[in-house]
Amino acid sequence: MEKMLAAMMGGTVVSLEVFFLTLLFSLPLGLVITAGHMSKIAVVRIPVRIFMLIVRGTPLILQLIFIYFAPYYIFKLSYNRFTAAIIAFSINYACYFAEIYRGGIEAIPKGQYEASFVLGFTKAQTFFRIILPQVIKTIIPATGNEVITLVKDTALAQTIGVAELFRVAQTASSREFSTTPIFVAGVFYLIMNWAVTVGFDKLEKKLSYYR
């Protein structure tokens, strides 16, 4: 039992690494993709939109396999599984975050831009001081949902052999002829998502000082 829990702790650490690294890269990358999606320049906008369509329209599990194996088949180049998982997760989640950001940005009334403009703010000042803080407030609930999904999606990293929590639980389960490790893993995911939920609730409260 103790050995099993120790192994599962190790798996949890891997899952948490996938989780945090994905957030670290996908949250800002999503903003870049939104900028591309909303760009006035067609040669930027159209490829970005097609890219988003593909990423959001195909299974993450397929993207994991593609990112990990494609370089090998094309260039005979093999690389770290964990790195491949982070790349696939970051790109996939960035596209979903981009869609959320876009909704948030489009919900800001035109008057906010116009007031900023006549007051003499630069474009950058307008975006970072006036628009973005309001966008963050409006997108918190949708982003929270996405982050909860990410916690559970980290289990997909095992497709390309990353020894994350669920893979470890399955291994332990078949070694011990017991489903207990699987249920224990379930409890672990639940705890992580409880933490995520509490975190987002706090954030929402923190930003409720205005409407």
Partner: protein, 252 residues
């Protein structure tokens, strides 16, 4: 001195011409009232002067700087360079119909943010200016509140203070009372009247005819993108010469 000179400006959106050959001027300390039916191009005119829109043709001069002068060989309006346009923008303020306060900033920060970011005013000085303005508009005790905690009239007064904080040479108002309940329009008109007494140069688009008459030095009546009648405020309102002006005024 002419603070604003507008000559023969045109504005088209696609195929429709919204402003047709508009000319007028405003002198230091003058108040220009603009009246006219909805859709006549009053907002578009203010937006051209405040650079929210670009004109299609014509000349605009503000405080000695030329914002735009005619069209180039390619048919595009000949606008001044970025630096000049920015300099002009800071000399002219705009108060919107629906206030457009920044909801995530409290009253104080709504008034200080542009001073600090745009003019580079030190924090203490920006706040002193804000306190002075808040006293002037009768909201000295509201500095820490957020816009949603204020009435429409109070929000509009804060937005006037926000514009004044940059010490513009000219202040434009686009129907400043139209989004307010009737009982709240008085407090806004009072603030604008006080500014007129201080000889603030202003352009005021309004549907408050009595207010326009008593406040303005000069009135322009616009309809369908043209200036139909202009002249001394009392003359235009009490004694309109043009048929369309008369028909419009009879509704008030």
């Amino acid at each position: 001195m002419e603070v604003i000179t507008v000559k023969n400006i045109r504005k088209t959106f696609g195929a429709s011409e919204i402003l047709k050959d508009i000319s007028f001027s405003v002198h230091t300390g003058e108040v220009l009232g603009i009246i006219g039916p909805s859709g006549s191009g009053k907002s578009t005119l203010l937006r051209c002067v405040t650079q929210l829109e670009t004109v299609s043709d014509g000349t605009i001069k503000i405080c000695g700087d030329t914002l735009v002068s005619g069209i180039n060989a390619d048919g595009r309006p000949n606008y001044a360079d970025e630096a000049t346009r920015r300099r002009i923008m800071l000399k002219i303020g705009l108060v919107f119909q629906n206030f457009n306060l920044f909801p995530h900033f409290n009253v104080m920060r709504n008034i200080t943010e542009a001073q600090r970011l745009v003019l580079g005013t030190p924090k203490q000085q920006a706040e002193d200016t804000a306190v002075m303005l808040l006293e002037k508009i009768g909201l000295a005790d509201k500095a820490d509140l957020y816009p949603y905690q204020l009435s429409g009239g109070q929000q509009q007064r804060v937005s006037i203070a926000r514009a004044l904080a940059l010490k513009p040479e000219v202040l434009c108002f686009d129907e400043p009372t139209s989004a307010l309940d009737p009982e709240l329009t008085g407090e806004i008109l009072k603030v604008i009247r006080a500014l007129a007494e201080e000889k603030m140069t202003m352009i005021v688009v309004t549907h408050e005819m009595a207010f326009a008459r008593d406040l303005s030095n000069k009135i322009i009546f616009m309809d369908k993108g043209v200036i139909v009648e202009e002249g001394d405020a009392k003359e235009v309102i009490n004694n309109p010469k043009n048929e369309r002006t008369r028909a419009f005024l009879s509704k008030y």
